[in-house]
Structures are given as C-alpha cells and as structure tokens.
Amino acid sequence: MAVHVDGLRKVFEVPEREPGLWASVKSLVRRKMREVRAVDGITFDIDRGEIVGFLGPNGAGKTTTLKMLSGLLHSSGGEARVLGFVPSKREKEFLRQITLVMGNRNQLQWDLPALDSFGLNRAIYRLRREDFVPFRDELIELLDIGDLVRKPVRNLSLGERMKVEIVGALLHRPQVLFLDEPTIGLDVTMQKRIRSFVAEYNRRHGATVLLTSHYMADVQALCRRVIVIHHGQILYDGPLTGLADQFAAHKTIGVALEDGTVDLTRYGEVIHRDGDWITLRVPKTETSEIASRLLAEQSVLDLTIEEPPIEDVIELVFAQERREPEVEVVA
C-alpha cells in the first residue's frame, strides 16, 4: 500500500468579523471564530503504482489533503500513512521518497538556470553522480527541454517553467507523486506533453500518483480510478467510468433516422441535431424502454446509447449540497 488514509480531518479556525469600526471595537473583547472543516473524515487507500485522480471543485479539500499527505500540514484527526510513514513527522527518509508539484508554485532558483537548481537537488537528496546525471538527462530528453535548462528560470514562459519544475521535482526519483494542478494555465500541446510524461514516469518507475486537475482531459488520459471530494467529504471512490452510473440521472441516445425532420421530443429532450443524427437526453432508468420504442416506432438507421460527457457528470457532482453546516464558535 502506498497511501493509507483513514478518517483524516483538517479543521481551520478562522477569525470572522463584520465590516466597520464598531465591529472592530467589539472584536477586541469578543473574538468570533469560525471552524472550517476543510477535510472532514476522508478514508481511502492507494496501491503502489496506481494513478488516481483527486477531483473536486475549488475549496473542496483537495489541496489541503495533498498538503497533509506530503507532511506540510498537521491533521486535526484521523490517520494518514504514505509508504508506511506518518507524513506529519516529516522524516527525512519519507521526504526523499515523495514529491509535491503545485502548478502555481515555483520551486526553482529564479535568477539561475534550472541546471543549477537541479545540481542543488542532487546535494539535498544525497544522489550519487552516476545515478543523478543519466536520470537528469533522461528526464530532460523526455520533456524535450535541453535548450531551456541553461536559461535563467525567470526568462522562461509559464509552460516552459512548468516543464523544468516537473523535472526538478522528480530528480530524486520519488515513489509517490502528489500533483496539484500540474497543467494549470498551459496550452493544449503542453498539457498533453506533461500527461504523457507523467504516464511514462509511472510506467518506468512504478511510481504512485495522486493527481488533482480541473482539466478532465488530464484525468481521462491518466486515471482509471478517481476520488471525488466535495465539502471535505468523499462523494465517490471508484473507476472513472462508474462516475456517471452513480451521479448522472440521464443518458444520451444518439439516433440516425431515415427522415431526420421527425419530431422526437416525446422520447426525451433533443439536445443536438446534426443532419439526420439526433441526440436525446433521457432519464437513465428509462433508457432501455425509450430505445426500444424508438426502434419500434421510427425508421432507425443507427442508434447508440452513451453516458453523458464526463465534464457534465462532474458538474453534477460539484453541484451537491454539503451534508452538515459549518460550526461557529466564539473564543
């Protein structure tokens, strides 16, 4: 087991105050605090070598979870183990075996070429030259950044910087990768490059990957399994393909008719019409019955039944309400 999480919680206490002078004076004697349950008792396990998508809307608790798993934050309760280590203890051996890549953070030396920062990482992670140099060159080649690593980091574009950041984060050959929005702000080509790189790293080195991303293309390309978190609680943990089964109330039926002008609104909601090809949204429980009726009542040339696009399903999941309200305390 690479990652074991059991009932993990993180509660932040944040001060809260009304605007204005009177509220400022009142807060001197009576400070109002609010407990925000960023992560609220989540449980999951991840096997070695697995790539898992960690999905949720902004503020769902994804990054807080990753920060707890990488030892940056101490939890408020529950248990977390990564490679058998308790992350909050931040043992050196643990830190040598993980990495956390945050799409919006710069971990390299700003004014110097990335090669200098890579050299520093060699010393930090106690890497032997004979391991470090070939592996560094392999990563540079995989991401095709040979001409970038000699430029000062400040002169690189966002996408170029992200690529060198990722190489810097993997030089110590971590077993567990926590990737927080690694493709944020990148163009489609660059996103694809990073995706295939992560897949290749996982394949070559047997690494475990926990990935958050708002780009469903990242998740679809890399993850068979997804964990959906919302309001700090896990809503779903299973195959990506099973998400629609659990959350989508509809399916789509695509149908090609001999006469494309026929009105099909009595079968379901017509969401798209392209020549003779019509796409209908139908209640999931009635899909079989509606398909049978269509076949029986219309001159059907072709018919397909599909789950709704993953983006639509995720949108439905993110629209879920929180199960319990936040707690307010006065200190």
């Binding site: 932040f12 934050l73 909050s88 971990q107 110097l112 077993q175 394949r203």
Partner: protein
C-alpha cells in the same frame, strides 16, 4: 494495459559529504546571483557606509575638542573601529526575523518543508555565499575610507586569524538569534514591534552605535550577559583592540556558547512552530 515497473530504491551519498555538497552548491548559487546584482550591492554598501561615517565624524570632533581623545580613545582608534565596523556590519546581515513573515505569508516555506533538510541550513549557506561577494566589494571601500580617516590599525597575525574566525562567529551567532526570533511569525502576524525592540536593544548593547567603553558602566555590565556584543564589538576589537591571546580565545569561546544557545532556542521553537504552518498561498 501498460506494465508498471517495480520501484528500484537509490543508493545515497553519505550524510556529511552531501551536506558539504549542499553548502557548496548553495554558496556558489548565492555568489552567482549576487554577482548579477553587483551594482545594487555596491549602492547598498555605499548607503551602509553613511552610518559609521557619521558616528566617526561625531566622535572624532568630540575627541578633538576634548584634547585629542574620548575616554582614552584616539581619532586613529575610532577611525579603525568604524572602518572595521563596515565589514562586521556586512557580515552581520543574515536571514532576518521579518523575512520569516514573508516566507510564511507567501507560502514559500512550502518549498523548503518538502526538502529533507532544515531551511536553516539553506539560510546559513546562502548568506555565507553572499558574504564572499560582500568582502570583495568592501575592500575598495575600506581603502577609500582609510585614505580619508587614517585609522590606527596594526594587528598581529594572531589577531588577523582571530578576526577571521570572529566575523564568521558573529555571522552564525546573529543568524541563530534572528532565525529564532523569526519563529514568532508562526504565532503572530504582528511581530514587527518585537523585532524593532530587539534591534534597538542590539543597537545600544552591541557596540554598533558607539564602542562599548563609551557607554555607562552599568550598560557595559549588562551587555556582558547578552549575545549582542559578541556579534559586533568583540569581532571589531579582535582586530582593532589590544586583546591578549587568552582574551581572544575566551571571546571566541563566548561566541561558540551563544551560537549553541541560539541554535538550541531555534530548534525548540522550530519543532513547535512548524506544526502551526498553514501553508497558505501555496
């Protein structure tokens, strides 16, 4: 379905060797970076020279008006004191407590906490590298000041060696206390008032404002039991004063003691502080 390879653990370099490599890498990076900003560094040093020159002019004038000395200190001694002061002051520039506030607020500590090495090592190594640039830039300034103020400076070889050790001792000592003070930022976002109080106390009791013999006796007595003078007055005196070999050794010993006390305070504070890190801003 792709086949995932088994993970192969890496053999690691020994701890001491890798630590030395780390210090060397960071120091080299600091030198590279600071050489890129050499003009800014020079202007910064020029600005810094204004402070001791003012002190020097004031005390030399007082000495001239008091029959040539102030409490036994000649203008030549004062010139030597404040010229050496400029180097010691530069050596005393460390990762200051207020920077911790920035490091925490901007989430920069996140990067440091992910590494299997205490951020303190990075700070010591980076500023130590910077010192090499500072020393090179300081030499022409010292020559210029000497031509103008004629310092009385005739150190023995032992004093030169002691001075070399003492300025690095001063650097480490001040680093430990500033880093320890910086830990307050984990508890409060209003640490500035405490930092200012510390700096003012340091200004008065370290020998930065005036050589300690010019301070009242009770101030000199208090300063003996505090770390400040060992980071300022003592290193200057190793070169400018007339310490015996025994006094030099005792002074260096006092520096080591205060460094260890500072390190102890830092480690204790760090252990508790890091649990409070909320990793905001990244």
């Amino acid at each position: 379905m792709s086949v995932v390879a088994d993970f192969v653990p890496l053999r690691r370099v020994g701890g001491t060797r890798s630590m030395l490599a780390f210090y060397w890498s960071v120091m080299r990076m600091a030198i590279q970076e600071q050489l890129q900003y050499r003009t800014a560094n020079y202007f910064y040093m020029f600005g810094m020279v204004a402070e001791p020159v003012i002190y020097l002019v004031v005390w030399t004038t007082i000495a001239d008006e008091s029959g040539g000395t102030v409490q036994g200190l000649t203008p030549g001694y004062l010139a030597a004191y404040y010229i050496v002061w400029t180097l010691v002051r530069n050596m005393n520039i460390v990762f200051g407590a207020p920077f911790w506030e920035h490091r925490i607020r901007e989430g920069e500590l996140t990067k440091d906490l992910l590494r299997p090495i205490l951020p303190l090592h990075y700070d010591i190594a980076y500023f130590a590298g910077w010192k090499f640039v500072v020393i090179v830039l300081w030499i022409p300034l010292a020559v210029g000041l000497s031509l103008v103020f004629h310092p009385a400076l005739h150190p023995s070889p032992v004093q030169v060696v002691a001075f070399f050790l003492a300025i690095w001792g001063a650097y480490l000592l001040r680093t430990m206390f500033q880093e320890s003070l910086g830990m307050l930022c984990f508890w409060t976002t209003r640490g500035a008032a405490i930092f200012d109080l510390w700096m003012t106390t340091e200004l008065l009791l370290s020998g930065r404002l005036v050589p300690l013999p010019l301070m009242p006796g009770w101030v000199q007595e208090i300063s003996r039991f505090l770390p400040f003078q060992w980071a300022f007055y003592f290193p200057i005196q190793t070169l400018v004063g007339d310490y015996s070999n025994e006094e030099l050794l005792r002074g260096l010993g006092a520096q080591v003691l205060w460094i260890l006390i500072g390190l102890g305070i830092f480690r204790f504070a760090w252990k508790h502080a890091v649990k409070r890190y909320s990793a905001v801003g990244g």
